[in-house]
Amino acid sequence: MDFTRRETLALGAGAALMSFLPMRANAEAVDDLIAAFTGGAEMGDAGVDLNAPEIAENGNTVPVEVSAPGAKAILLLAAGNPTPPVAQFNFGPLAGSQTASTRIRLAGTQDLIAIAQLGDGTFARTSKTVKVTIGGCGG
């Protein structure tokens, strides 16, 4: 099978586009989830903490901790997972502190995003990049 230069270029461009498309769809999904949580409100930087390892050897179980003093709820997203939502923590009146830790799956190296709804109704956002050596989606 012979390819002309033009066909080869077109194929290459198509392949590049294909590889970008899922990424873009995912970024949109993340934006939609954030908008659904905040109602489109502005987000500050201070007030929410996200603790995760810089390098996770095994993407199947990555320990993470979120905390936001005085928050009502914290939303945790993994921007590079096939399904970005990870968990939402809603704190009740008897919560000792607005802190929670759990273990999550990460498909690969990506950004974790935590958004907190603070006590005064405003929102705060933080993110952290986690490098994953072995992905956790059983692909």
């Binding site: 939402q88 009740g92 000792g96 759990t102 989606c137």
Partner: protein, 109 residues
């Protein structure tokens, strides 16, 4: 349908009034994400615990929405204020409709 689901909770037996205690919970559950395929290439259907709640004497401590990105055997650690002697109620809600429960008493002295 998940089999062999067993909740495990660690709560101190006693506390002083108003003390903030740390609670660790773990439940053995496969948390099948719905992304994996079996050897024939068929998708394994999603089967996860989608919600976890903790209450103390009917008052809410934490309510967590879990997604498929939570690891197998979901582990949640959080803190609670203990105003009086009573009981913590833990509930895990499975995709298949079952609810797993555990209770832990605590005395304030």
């Amino acid at each position: 349908m998940a089999t062999g689901v067993k909740p495990r909770v660690k709560v101190p037996g006693s506390a002083s009034a108003g003390e903030v205690i740390t609670i660790k919970t773990l439940i053995s559950h496969p948390m099948e994400s719905g992304q994996r395929k079996d050897s024939d290439g068929n998708k394994i259907p999603r089967s996860i615990i989608n919600r976890f709640t903790c209450d103390f004497n009917g008052q809410n401590v934490i309510d967590v929405t879990l997604e498929p990105a939570i690891s197998t055997n979901p582990y949640v650690e959080f803190q609670a204020t203990v105003p009086e002697t009573g009981e913590f109620q833990f509930k895990w809600y499975d995709d298949d409709g079952s609810v797993y429960e555990d209770n832990k008493p605590i005395t304030v002295g």
